[in-house]
Amino acid sequence: VTQQEGIGWHPRARPGPLFALLCLRRSGDTSPEGLADVLAGLWETYDRLREGIAGDLPPELDYAGGLQRLVGFGPRLFDQALGIDHPEAPAAELRECMFGPVAAGGPVLPGTALRFADTVTDNGADADVVVQLTGDTQAALTRAVVATQRQLAGDGRATLSGIWFGYRRDDRRSWLGFHDGVDNVNGPERINVVEVGPQADDRWLRGGTYLAFLRIEIDLDVWEALSRQEQELAVGRDKHTGGALNPAGDEVRRVALAAGTTSVFARANLPTREPGLVDLDDPTGLGGSHVQRTRRHPNLRIFRQGYEYLEVTGNPPVLQTGLNFVSFQSSPGRVIGMLRSPSWLGTDSFAGSSQAGFPQVPDLLRVHAAGMFAVPPASDDGLPGREMLRDLKRLG
C-alpha cells in the first residue's frame, strides 16, 4: 500500500512546483457507479498525458512535464449518497469534520475565527470529488485541466465546482515575505503524520490520507501596514533569515544562521528552524505567534504542501494574492482541531494575543474555498477508490 502521487510523503516523492485543484460535483441523479465511470475515464486521460499523449497527437514523452494526479472524495458524496445516519456509512470522521455551506463572510467552521470572503456565495470545494494535479511545466498542467473540463462537459454526469491554480516559489517564501514550510514535519516522522493507519475504520482508506484545502486570500494592505518587528512577532520568525524567534527574559532573541550557511533550509540550521515552545501568556507575545499556535500540540501535526497564487479579478484589474493551503494528515480532526481550538486559530485567524498586548492581525485572511477530502491509497487497478464507489451503490 502506498500513497498516491502528488504528496511529498517521503524524500523521493516530489510533486512538481505547479498546482491545480479541481472539484467535481455529481450532476442530478448520477449514481456513485456512474461517477466511478467518469473518474475512470479521467484517470485514463491523465495516464495518457503522463506518457506524453495529448489528444490525437503522437506521443511526446519528453513533454509529459512531470504530471502527477491524485483523486479524493468529499463528505458531500457520502452525505448525499447515504445520509449521515446510515449505519454502514463510510467516512464518519470526514463527515463530522466537513466544511459547511457558505454564509458570505461567515466562519469556515461554526465558531472559528477564519472566515469566508464576503463575495463567496458557493463554496466550490464543497464537492463530491477532488482532483489534484501537479507538474513541472505549465503545458503539462494546463492541458490536463482543459482535458478534464472538456471530458466532463461532454459526459454530463459531473460538473466542475471549482478550479484553483498555484505555484511554489523557488525562494520558498510566501506572500507574507517569510519563508514558508520552514519547520514542516520531516524525516521519518512524516509518514505517521500523513498516513491513515492500517486498522482505520474505512478499509478503502487504509494507507491513504486526508487532504485539507483552503484557498486563502492574503490582504497585503493589512500585512504591509505592520512594521517588520510586528510581522515577526505575528509569525514568530526572523523575516530575513527564517530563524525562529525565542524569548530571552522579556526580550525577543534572534538566532543567527549556522556559520557558513545562507539558507535557513540548510541542514546545519535545523536547530535554528525549530522554535522552542513558548507559553501563551509569555510577556514577549511570542506565545501568540502563528508558529507557536500551530506547534502547541506536537502530536497533532500536519504535513503542509502549500502553493501560492496570484489572481486577477475585476475590470480595471485587481490583483488578489494568496495561498492554496494544502495539507495531508492521518485524520481530518488534526486540521479541524487547529482551526477550532481557542489556543490555536479558533480565536484569531492568524496570530495575536491580547493578554500579551501583542497586535492582532484581523482581516488579513479571507477564505474563498474550503474542503476536506478522503484520499485512498494508490491502486494497481487504476482509479483509486473505485471499489468504495461500488460499495456506495450497494449501501444506497
Binding site: 521519518p188 482505520a200 541542514r267 535545523l270 500540540h297 479558533g346
Partner: protein, 471 residues
C-alpha cells in the same frame, strides 16, 4: 487540610505545593508529599541502568530536576485520545471501547483485574467515567454527564497513607457525595491502621497498583462507578518522570561535522540507554505511538539539546487546559451549552484544572446525548467521553532552566538504527493485544477471551526479569 489560595506565588526552592495548589497541607504533610514526588522521580531514574555501551548512570538525570527550578514556563500538551487504541482498532471501535461501562467478552476474573470497562485503555494521562441515568420518558439508561480527571494517583495514595480524615473529606467534596465512607475508599476503617496498611487497603479498593507491582485493579466504587482520580497504572507521576528523563538526554546525529538534533522516532528506536535490549526497543516502538510520551519526550529533548534542565512547574500536576478546550463545538438546541453543564474543578479558579465535568445536572431534564458536537458543519450527538477527549488538551506545565550548553563530547550519537515505526501496525505488541478487544466490540455475543493488558513501559528490565522468573 484546607483550600489553598493559589494566587500566592512561592519561591521555586520551597518545594512543590499540592497538585493544582488545590489543597492546603500543614508543613509536615507537605514535606511528606514532596517526598512522594521525589520518590516517583527516583523510581523513574532507576530505569536508567548502564548496559552495554550505554552512558554512565550518573548522567541519566542531569537534565531533569525532581524539585522546582527557576526558569521559563513552557507548555507541554497533548490530545488525550488514546492513540494506540485508535491506531490499532480505528476510531469507531476505540470510541466504543473507551465509552463502554463493560467490555463484552471480558470474563469475570479478567474484569476484576482491569479498570472498569473501557477505562482500561484511558492511558494518556486522562481518565473519565460516563455517568448514566434512567430516562423516565423512554425507560432507557442514557448518558447524563462525563467526569474527567487528570489527578495524580500518587497524591491520593499519599493522602490515604498519611491523613485518612483529609482523604475522606476530599473524596466527599470531589464526588459531591457526603455518603462516601471509609469502607468505600479503604474497605475498612483506616484510622487505627499503620500508614503502610492504609496504603495497601487504599490501593486494593480505590487506587489500584502502579506498574511495579502485581496488577491490582481497584474494586471500590469511587474509581469504578465514578472517576475520583487517575488510577490507570501507566498514568503515574513516575511514568511522567520516566519519559521526561528518557527525552532529556543530549542525543545528536553527526552530519558534515555538525551535531544536529535527531528525529524523535530515532530517539525511541536507537536510544543509547535502551538500544542494547531488543525487548526494550520493542516496547519503545509502541510507546512512540502514543500521544503523551512522544510529546513529553520531545519537549525534554529540545531542552536537553540546548543545554537546559527541565522540571515540573509548581504546582505539579497534569492539567486540563481551559484555553485549549473547544467548548464552542458543544451545542444544545443549536445554542452554546448551559455554563452549569461545563464545570472546571480542582481547582475551580484559573485556567488549568484537574477535573472537568460535562453534561446536565441530575435535576435537569436533558441528557448528555441531547448535546451536539459540531466540529464541522455536521452535528452528532455527544454520547460519551471519547468525543470530549477530541476537544481537549492535557499536560503538565514545565519549567526550563538554561545550563551550560553541552560540549560536543557530552552528546550521545544516534546514527539511525532501529528501522522505522508505522503506528497501528498489526505486528506491534499492543495491536496484537488489542485485536481481541476489537473483535469483542464488533461481536459482543461471540465468545472471546480477552487478556488483561500488561502495562509495563516503566520498569522495563524488572518486568522482564519478573517474566523470566515466572516462566
Amino acid at each position: 487540610m484546607g483550600r489553598r489560595d493559589h494566587s500566592s506565588r512561592r519561591a521555586a526552592t520551597d518545594g512543590y505545593r499540592t497538585p493544582g495548589a488545590a489543597d492546603d497541607l500543614d508543613a509536615e504533610r507537605l514535606a511528606a508529599w514532596q517526598q512522594a514526588v521525589e520518590q516517583a522521580y527516583q523510581d523513574a531514574l532507576s530505569e536508567f541502568q548502564p548496559q552495554d555501551g550505554s552512558p554512565p548512570a550518573e548522567r541519566a538525570g542531569q537534565y531533569v530536576s525532581p524539585r522546582p527550578i527557576q526558569g521559563r514556563e513552557i507548555p507541554l500538551t497533548w490530545q488525550p485520545v488514546p492513540r494506540q487504541l485508535v491506531g490499532c482498532l480505528g476510531r469507531r471501535r476505540a470510541r466504543a471501547i473507551c465509552d463502554a461501562d463493560e467490555v463484552p467478552g471480558l470474563d469475570p476474573k479478567a474484569a476484576k483485574d482491569t479498570l472498569a470497562g473501557g477505562r482500561e485503555w484511558h492511558n494518556e494521562y486522562c481518565e473519565y467515567k460516563v455517568i448514566r441515568r434512567h430516562d423516565d420518558k423512554t425507560g432507557r439508561l442514557r448518558p447524563k454527564r462525563v467526569e474527567i480527571t487528570t489527578e495524580l494517583r500518587e497524591y491520593w495514595v499519599f493522602l490515604a497513607r498519611e491523613c485518612p480524615e483529609s482523604l475522606l473529606s476530599l473524596a466527599r467534596e470531589v464526588l459531591e457525595n457526603e455518603k462516601v465512607t471509609y469502607d468505600d475508599l479503604y474497605g475498612q476503617n483506616p484510622v487505627e491502621l499503620t500508614p503502610e496498611k492504609r496504603q495497601e487497603a487504599f490501593v486494593r479498593v480505590s487506587a489500584g497498583s502502579d506498574v511495579r507491582d502485581p496488577r491490582i485493579a481497584p474494586c471500590g466504587p469511587c474509581n469504578r462507578d465514578r472517576a475520583l482520580f487517575m488510577c490507570h497504572p501507566i498514568n503515574g507521576l513516575d511514568d511522567l518522570y520516566f519519559i521526561s528523563l528518557f527525552g532529556a538526554q543530549p542525543c545528536a546525529r553527526r552530519q558534515d561535522g555538525e551535531l544536529l538534533p535527531v528525529p524523535l522516532m530515532r530517539l525511541f528506536l536507537d536510544n543509547p540507554w535502551f538500544r542494547a535490549s531488543a525487548d526494550d526497543v520493542r516496547q519503545l516502538r509502541d510507546t512512540y505511538c502514543r500521544n503523551a510520551d512522544p510529546s513529553a519526550a520531545a519537549v525534554a529533548y529540545a531542552a536537553a539539546f540546548a543545554g537546559a534542565r527541565v522540571a515540573l512547574a509548581d504546582p505539579p500536576g497534569v492539567y486540563l487546559r481551559e484555553e485549549d478546550f473547544d467548548l464552542m463545538a458543544l451545542r444544545y438546541r443549536s445554542e452554546p451549552v448551559d455554563e452549569r453543564w461545563v464545570r472546571w474543578r480542582r481547582p475551580e479558579t484559573g485556567t488549568r484544572h484537574q477535573r472537568l465535568e460535562v453534561g446536565p445536572r441530575d435535576e435537569d431534564d436533558a441528557f448528555l446525548d441531547d448535546i451536539d458536537v459540531c466540529r464541522g458543519s455536521t452535528a452528532v450527538p455527544l454520547t460519551g467521553g471519547f468525543q470530549l477527549l477530541e476537544l481537549l488538551s492535557v499536560g503538565p506545565q514545565v519549567v526550563a532552566e538554561p545550563l551550560a550548553a553541552p560540549s560536543p563530547q557530552d552528546f550521545y550519537l544516534i546514527e539511525g538504527g532501529g528501522g522505522e515505526v508505522r503506528c497501528g501496525s498489526r505486528t506491534s505488541d499492543v495491536c496484537r493485544q488489542l485485536a481481541a478487544w476489537g473483535k469483542a466490540i464488533d461481536a459482543p455475543d461471540a465468545s472471546s477471551r480477552l487478556a488483561v493488558p500488561r502495562w509495563r513501559r516503566r520498569k522495563l528490565r524488572s518486568t522482564r526479569d519478573d517474566e523470566a522468573s515466572h516462566s
